[in-house]
């Protein structure tokens, strides 16, 4: 039973890969945007922080679910 739970938890944490792709796409676009228009840096920073926070939330939810699966019996 413990093995199955651990496997399920590890699959759950795989969500992190998707969140990583999401954040990296957002960051690369933000870098391009700043390179093209350095004076819009402040606005772009706010948007990238918001986007990264929203993308990262999915990974955090998966992490919480994995923790609950492993630790709560």
């Amino acid at each position: 039973m413990t093995g199955i739970t651990a496997l399920a938890a590890s699959f759950c944490v795989l969500t992190g890969a998707a969140a990583g792709i999401g954040i990296s796409v957002a960051t690369s676009k933000a870098v391009q945007a700043v390179a093209r228009q350095p004076e819009a840096g402040d606005k772009i920073r706010n948007i990238i922080v918001l986007g990264a926070a929203l993308a990262e939330a999915t990974a955090v939810y998966a992490f919480i679910i994995a923790l609950l699966m492993v630790l709560v019996k």
């Binding site: 706010n46 922080v49 918001l50 926070a53 955090v60 919480i64 630790l71």
Partner: protein
């Protein structure tokens, strides 16, 4: 391994320091409450010390405070818009509280109960289980903060638009959108709460794993990322999202 799993389970639970049961409700004083008191004490003492003997021309410690206040003013003006000035006190307070409570694990200088017991052989320390950990790793704290943010959003909408205007804003731009607007008020606090809780708990658990595997040198460097950077970033994100929601409500 089993021992370590138990320790992680202990991290997720809030351990009770003083048990209080009132009318069937569990009102125990947990360790996150005590750490919150410490955070409040730090902030109150600092704000009293830093704002004494203010002068027109800033010098010394006063200029530090002015930089911080200026930062909050600009932050609120950027995110909320023209009504920004109204919400600077709330946003600034939450920001300072979250920053201090997220990074307070750095100042965890209290040795564990086991060490104290071996040192002093007092029975009092045998069940002593108190360490300064971020109170935001407790879901009750983050849920309270998220609900407070939603109360601030609703208050902001009512204060700026009056009750009729606020109720009308549920039907804009299309009456069809009404269920989603109502749904928003339930989804937003949950998402704010779980983002903060998950990130901080994750950082605490990862740091605990690192302390377990490499007790020396390495935790020092990784602590900069997991305790300081992550904590400040999450505080920023929380406050930023709150002020965005407020900005949307008063628009």
């Amino acid at each position: 391994m089993e021992e370590f799993v138990n320790e992680l389970q202990g991290l997720m639970k809030s351990n009770k320091i003083i048990e209080i049961n009132l009318f069937g409700f569990d009102l125990s004083i947990t360790d996150s409450v005590v750490v919150m008191w410490i955070v409040m004490a730090i902030l109150i003492v600092l704000s009293v010390v830093f704002t004494r003997k203010l002068k027109t021309i800033p010098e010394g410690k006063q200029s530090i405070v002015e930089v911080i206040v200026e930062f909050f003013n600009n932050f609120a003006k950027d995110c909320v818009g023209e009504h920004g000035k109204l919400f600077v006190p709330y946003i600034g307070t939450i920001f300072l509280l979250l920053i201090v409570s997220n990074i307070i694990a750095v100042f965890n200088i209290i040795p564990s109960g086991e060490d104290l017991y071996n040192l002093t052989h007092w029975e009092f320390f045998e069940n002593w289980n108190f360490a300064i950990r971020p109170p935001t790793k407790d879901i009750n704290v983050t849920l309270t903060l998220a609900l407070m943010s939603m109360v601030a959003v609703i208050t902001a909408g009512i204060k700026v638009k009056k009750v009729s205007g606020w109720l009308k804003s549920f039907l804009e731009p299309e009456p069809l959108i009404l269920p989603f607007k109502i749904f928003d008020y339930f989804i937003r606090p949950v998402s704010l709460c779980f983002r903060m809780f998950g990130n901080i708990l994750g950082a605490v658990i990862i740091m605990e794993l690192i302390y377990f595997a490499f007790p020396a040198v390495l935790p020092g460097f990784l602590s900069i990322y997991f305790d300081l950077f992550d904590g400040i970033l999450q505080a920023y994100v929380f406050v930023f999202l709150t002020s965005l929601y407020i900005g949307e409500a008063v628009e």
